[in-house]
């Protein structure tokens, strides 16, 4: 079992009580895998412990990216939230830590043997 970190990088930020996490594929093959497997439902289930609402996924193929909007995930956000991460700064790293089972050919395409 690997984590998303193996094939992607990410960026998260806040919008009020909501946040977004953008996930960027490191290669075109990785984008195809993300597009097929990293669904809104999967991301929503993953972030459920943080109280996220219905997750919306936007595809950004020209950037090799998927953008996830995570409503209500910051428990009030900004000045209201009591959490140490009221601004969603950790959510990119949290999503990259998602365990995934990746096909061997995808992993070898990322780290070609000389």
């Amino acid at each position: 079992m690997r984590t998303l970190h193996a094939i992607a990088f990410a960026r998260s930020g806040d919008k009020g009580s909501s946040a977004n996490v953008a996930v960027f594929a490191r290669t075109p093959a990785a984008y195809a895998w993300l597009q097929a497997h990293l669904t809104a439902a999967k991301v929503e289930a993953y972030f459920r412990p943080l109280g996220v609402g219905p997750v919306r996924r936007y595809e950004v193929p020209n950037l090799g990216a998927l953008n996830f909007v995570l409503p209500g995930i910051l428990a009030g956000g900004g000045s209201c939230s009591l959490r140490i991460d009221a601004q969603g700064k950790t959510l990119g790293q949290a999503l990259l830590a998602m365990p995934v089972s990746l096909p061997p050919e995808l992993l070898s395409s990322l780290h070609p043997t000389p």
Binding site: S18, G64, N67, S79, L82, D85, T90
Partner: protein
Amino acid sequence: MSSLAGFWQRGGRTRIVTNAGGLDPLACGTAVRAVLARANLPEMKVAVVTGDDVLAWVRTHAADCRNLETDASLDTVLPRLVTANAYLESAPIVAALQAGAHIVITGRVADPSLTVGPARAHFGWGAEDYDRLAGATVAGHLLECGTQSCGGFSTDWLDLAGTHDIGFPVAEIAADGSFVLTKPAGTGGAVTIQTVKEQLLYEIGDPGAYLSPDVTVSFLGLQLSTDGEDRVRVTGAAGRPPPESYKVSATYRHGFKAHGMLTIYGAQAVEKARRAGHGVLQRLTGAGCVYRETLVECLGTGASAGGLGQRVPESDLIETVLRISVAADTEEPVRRFTRAVAPLVTSGPQGVTGYATGRPKVLPVFGYWPCLVSRAAAQPQWSFA
């Protein structure tokens, strides 16, 4: 501003556009004029953009100001309303620059409009040159967050050179609205396709409809290419008319909160921390304190993200930082909490430490109320300070 006086005294010509005015841009303008007078630069013209303050309008149209997140009517918080500011567009900045302002200070203006303004003033773009405005808006979006386009806050931060001195981004905008993002020579970090991609989708909703008061932008046709070391060219921004309303950020008083932290080291550190934290809250509520919300977090367990990505069983951790938080509608129970954390040093488990920073502070909470208002609610204008 004082730190730039020498630059201008030596003939520097760089002009400044900044939303540094906060809730009182006119006072900021007056203060800047005073600095320039002391620096013997009286010929520099300071302009102030106002009109973003829509508090009076919002007070009289509260029922129309529905919260964009909850759809609640502003009537519910009207007596506690503190501020209401519209995100203004680039037009008053353009006018001030074209009238010869060297420094433009604004209150609330959409961040990318701070970049669109100078580009419009320089190239003479009209308010309906949507693709060009879109390009400059994307540039402004990349410039708005410190060094974040240059490797700050990036996933592969450890791979960057010079992270102690990351450069701030610079956008070289062309007449067609495309631009090259770069950074000053000799600074750390990097401008690569990866760093630019990350910042492009920072705090973004629908990448096909990035809303600003100048233009609605689609990011879906953006193309990034390398244009030399630490230079990334961005083309393909597509624009269409902006929303008909202004977005407003309003705030209201929402009680008080405090956070207290202590470190617990040793065997079963997390279990001890949890019991100690909940014990503080139990004692206070038992004494009659009423909180609308409390939270106990054990940092080190993945608590920053609700335990996601946790790699080590809690029982294996040799230490944790205990963070206890409370919020209440009134100040008194929060004030009592701030005095209840330190006693854990003598009544908590062996290995409690890290109480060097003193008592927690009582913080006022300001609730955030995003809403839309008619363009008639705000009168964007500018004047020389």
